[in-house]
């Protein structure tokens, strides 16, 4: 992103926000992939609408949760406005949410590493963001 990583020093609350965001990003992304690459073909070519209906409903409501969680997290990360909107929209495009999640998590980890390098004394629980 446009901001140097070391300027963002994540707190524990930021780590929780990251975890929430990653869970929601993966869940909505997987549901959307199932919907678009399984549900819709079944509905169109095999006239079995049930997969699309159930998964579509689930994705629709999980996307609402994703909106809130991603808004919270990108704000904490101080993502610029346009990129924030792109992250929010990524939840509606197959596979895009996963790409956005990768970029944001990497930036978070870089910020943690930069913060640890700058302040070694405060590095308890460093880099514990998962992957």
């Amino acid at each position: 992103m446009t901001v140097p990583d070391e300027l963002f020093v994540p707190t524990d609350a930021d780590r929780r926000a990251l975890r929430r965001y990653r869970i929601l990003a993966y869940t909505t992304a997987v549901l959307l992939v199932v919907l678009v690459f399984a549900g819709v073909p079944l509905q169109v070519w095999d006239h079995q609408p049930w997969v699309a209906r159930i998964v579509g409903t689930a994705h629709g409501y999980l996307y609402l949760v994703y909106l809130g969680v991603a808004f919270d997290f990108t704000r904490r990360m101080r993502v610029p406005l346009l990129k924030m909107v792109l992250v929010l929209l990524a939840g509606t495009i197959p596979l895009c949410a996963i790409v956005a999640e990768r970029l944001l998590t990497r930036r978070f980890d870089r910020a943690v590493a930069a913060g640890d390098a700058a302040v070694p004394a405060e590095s308890s629980g460093a880099g514990s963001t998962g992957t």
Partner: protein, 141 residues
């Protein structure tokens, strides 16, 4: 609301900045758009497809999210959130005080403060504010 926004007292002008006006325009398009989409889905639901009920509830939720987004766009001080706020905060958080040390104005400030206790108190207040631990979000943790 958090310290970020409350640190900037009521400021009617914030409703008419370029950023705010763009947010107003986006809201004026977004909310009726969501209402139309919800109404369209109600029609589908009444037409017999029960999936329409799902989306006729969801679109108003999107409208509400748009209102929340708009509210934050208007009320956030762009200097205290986002990338700009991060840069400014990092400057303030550097060890040793508010600005790169050894400012040539320090002497003048000290003299002015000696003459004016009110100014000295205000500067002490600002200093205390800038020494507070940085809040990362818009919420108090």
């Amino acid at each position: 609301m958090d310290s970020d926004t409350q640190a900037h007292p009521a400021n009617p002008g914030r409703w008419f900045t370029r950023r705010s006006i763009m947010a107003h325009v986006a809201l004026v398009i977004w909310v009726p758009g969501c209402a139309l989409a919800a109404w369209w889905q109600v029609g589908i639901a009444l037409g017999g497809d029960s999936l329409g009920w799902v989306y006729s509830v969801m679109w108003p939720c999107f409208a509400v999210f748009g209102i929340v987004f708009w509210w934050f766009l208007v009320h956030d001080d762009p200097d205290s959130v986002g990338a700009r706020g991060l840069r400014r905060r990092a400057t303030q958080a550097r060890p040793g005080g508010t600005d790169p040390a050894g400012s040539p104005d320090d002497e003048a400030i000290a003299r002015a403060e000696a003459d004016d206790p009110e100014l000295a108190a205000y500067n002490a207040y600002l200093d205390a504010l800038s020494r507070q631990p940085a809040s990362k979000g818009w919420r108090r943790r």
